[in-house]
């Protein structure tokens, strides 16, 4: 009886050993937020087990790290971050995890813009949260920078897993070709706009890189105080700017509150023309489940709102 069972058991043990080995070979990658998670998946493919800390639709600025996140960092081979103080929770989480994994700031080598205002505001429910940063962290909003992120990810994966390097590089090259096509698509579309119709209004200025790369001007209430509501003077200043620039549309943002924008829309002749995705992807069934889709959605929304009628 025993003997007859044995081969079966051995077989089972061997298979489970193999599947354990196969899993152990996969690189444990932690990505700080959804956009970087998408890049990591594009480059890592089947070779990585990916954990994204701040998921689709969530705001990294106000994220509170959880024990499971610390556990993920503790077991990570590579930790991918944006850097430029984007992930305010990161140093606490690293301390909690005691991780030895390399912490890669993907903006390393990117074209980084200083932030003249020393930071930007996010509306989070009732609170305006100031995100202080000497340099603007939203570098992924220029596709050329996204390509730098992707290169950096390939390098980080190669350093952690030399065996998969060739594939990481190939995946990165393929994806960067898609990014190049996207970049061209946006440039061509903007070129078709009359030069005087290239301004829009957003709630939180996460689009300075987009502005810098593609020549669309983004107006946003800069003087939002830490109180719940922007002051009348702030709003008046913005309305003056909107008229000066002859802004063509107002956009809501996936992670921001729209009340301030509703006020601005009411005091100008502009309508809220749609929702842009700045700091997070949408859910799988939304318009921005991946970076390519997100940038296309943002560009197409802006361009169709500005297109001459």
């Amino acid at each position: 009886m025993k003997n007859r069972l044995l081969p079966g058991i051995i077989c089972y043990v061997i298979t489970s050993l193999f599947s354990v080995a196969a899993q152990a070979e996969r690189l444990n990658v932690v990505a700080s937020f959804s956009i970087i998670g998408d890049f990591a998946q594009q480059v890592g493919g089947e070779h990585i087990d990916l954990k994204v800390l701040v998921g689709p639709g969530s705001d990294a600025h106000v994220y509170e790290p959880r024990p499971a996140d610390a556990m993920a960092l503790a077991g990570a081979d590579v930790v991918l971050t944006n850097g430029l103080s984007f992930e305010g929770f990161l140093s606490r989480l690293i301390a909690a995890s005691g991780t030895d994994a390399p912490i890669i700031a993907l903006t390393e080598g990117a074209h980084v813009l200083d932030d003249p205002a020393g930071g930007h505001y996010h509306m989070n429910g009732d609170e305006a949260v100031f995100h202080a940063a000497a340099q603007d962290p939203h570098a992924w909003q220029s596709v050329a920078n996204a390509q730098v992120y992707v290169e950096n990810i390939a390098e980080a994966f190669c350093a952690a897993d030399a065996g998969g390097c060739e594939e990481y590089r190939a995946n990165a090259a393929r994806y960067n070709d898609e990014l190049a096509a996207l970049d061209q698509h946006i440039r061509d579309a903007v070129a078709d706009l009359p030069p005087e119709r290239r301004s829009v209004v957003v709630a939180h200025n996460a689009f300075r890189y987009f502005e810098d790369a593609y020549g669309i001007t983004f107006l946003s209430p800069q003087g939002v105080s830490t109180e719940a509501e922007a002051s009348a003077a702030d709003v008046a200043g913005l309305i003056r700017e909107i008229r000066q620039h002859d802004a063509g549309a107002i956009f809501a943002e996936s992670i921001s509150d729209t009340r301030l924008l509703d006020r601005i829309a009411a005091e100008t002749d502009l309508e809220i023309a749609g929702t842009l995705y700045s700091d997070a992807l949408s859910a799988e069934d939304g318009p921005a489940p991946g970076y390519l889709a997100m940038m296309r959605h943002n560009a197409d929304s802006i361009l169709s709102a500005l297109a001459p009628r």
Binding site: P67, A68, M71, A95
Partner: protein, 402 residues
């Protein structure tokens, strides 16, 4: 990365005694300074001393035995004297100013601030969201103090009325106020409710039988109840309550009544009965992970420098390091003689507090404060303190002195 930080802190601590803040250096000094405040068990007295230079020592007279709280970012120590209806405030003399890229540290002598507050049985103190809130258990109200004004030396108290006097708490959570609610008569505690700043109730009571032991971590407030742990967080400007029931496979008829919240990750450490601790995750499952202790617990603390660690002292005199991520005891060392938990809750027994890379342990019977290394739980040294050193709190940290 974290280990590098720990090492540099240790180095800074060795340098701290020579790099004193007020000696007029013409360059920036990187220094670490911890100051310990110890309340006596029997005498109405607080002794303060610098951890690495205990001959720098001060004492402050109170009205009675005090529980000590470092409040307003450590600028002030509150001495809550429940049996004697007083709350004294002592400016700690340690000021840390966060400038983003670095922290400034200024050191001066501690000093008693103004006149103490008085009221019927001040007990739980909450320091959160820029407010210091003291519950007056026999007064039927709480006193709300602006932390920034307190740090500046001004003690102003606003009155927050409650329906019935009880052993409870009032706390700000984001834009709202939450407060415990008790029944008329014996003051049986029923749960938690939202209030306006004038004490008028908003919305429904969140039931939490016998509610006790409030703490904050991340976006949550948590408190212990007979039926589980109640959590509260803010969504759309209003509180959202959730009762996390104790798991069925936990020892029954014991509860959580004391909670600590991590300032690094969103997690709580609470007691569960006399000889258990629970790691509580307010979001992810499992919400509770229990750690069985070999003896009954005397006191426990969380490590702000190594946020995955907590420490608990048990009645056999052993200090245990708790690994919060794996919910287990990671190391244990004997640090004091045994102190049985039989007898009254307020009998003189040790208390523990964190001071950077050290755990300070009051040892009332020995008349000592013991300095224990977080690295290996070994004793770094002892500091003699007159009388019976009991409740204690520590202020300080690392920063630059310009």
């Amino acid at each position: 990365m974290f280990r590098k930080f720990a090492t540099s802190t240790a180095i800074a601590m060795i340098l701290a005694p020579v790099a004193f803040a007020h000696e007029g250096h013409d360059h920036d000094d990187d220094l670490t300074h911890y100051r310990v405040f110890v309340g006596d068990h029997d005498k109405p007295l607080v002794t303060a001393f610098d951890l690495t230079e205990p001959e720098h020592r001060w004492s402050f007279d109170l009205a009675g035995q005090a529980k000590l709280f470092a409040v307003a970012g450590g600028a002030v120590v509150a001495a809550v004297q429940s049996d004697d209806d007083h709350v004294h405030f002592i400016s700690s003399g340690i000021e840390l100013h966060d400038h983003g890229d670095h922290t400034d540290l200024e050191v001066s002598d501690p000093a008693m601030l103004g006149a103490p507050l008085t009221g019927p049985r001040p007990f739980h103190l909450v320091d959160h969201g820029g407010k210091v809130v003291i519950n007056y258990d026999k007064g039927g109200y709480a006193g709300i103090i602006e932390a920034s004004a307190l740090a500046g030396g001004t003690i102003g108290e606003a009155n927050f009325p409650q329906s019935y006097p009880h052993h409870g708490f009032v706390a700000p959570l984001g834009p709202v106020w939450l407060g415990t609610v008790a029944a008329d008569g014996e003051g049986a505690r029923l749960g938690l409710q939202q209030f306006q700043a004038d004490g008028s109730a908003v919305g429904d009571l969140a039931p939490c039988t016998g509610i006790h032991g409030e703490a904050f971590s991340g976006a949550f407030l948590a408190a212990g109840c007979e039926e589980g742990v109640l959590t509260a967080t803010i969504a759309g400007g209003a509180p959202v309550f959730e009762m996390l029931p104790y798991p069925e496979d936990f020892p029954q008829d014991v509860t959580t009544g004391t909670l600590l919240g991590s300032t690094a990750i969103q997690v709580f450490l609470g007691n569960h009965g006399a000889d258990g601790l629970v790691v509580i995750d307010p979001v992810d499952q499992p919400h509770f992970r229990r750690i069985e202790l070999p003896f009954r617990r005397i006191d426990f603390a969380l490590d702000p420098v190594r946020p995955a660690h907590g420490y608990v002292l048990t009645e056999d005199g052993t200090l245990h390091r708790i690994d919060l991520l794996n919910a287990e005891i990671a190391a244990s060392e004997s640090v004091t003689e045994p102190y049985s938990m039989d007898g009254h809750w307020n009998d003189p027994r040790p208390r523990i507090a964190m001071a950077g890379d050290e755990i300070v342990v009051s040892d009332p019977r020995a008349g000592l404060v013991r300095r224990i290394s977080t690295e290996d739980l070994s004793e770094i040294g002892t500091i003699e303190v007159e009388g019976q050193p009991y409740n204690l709190t520590v202020v300080g940290g690392s920063g630059l002195s310009h």
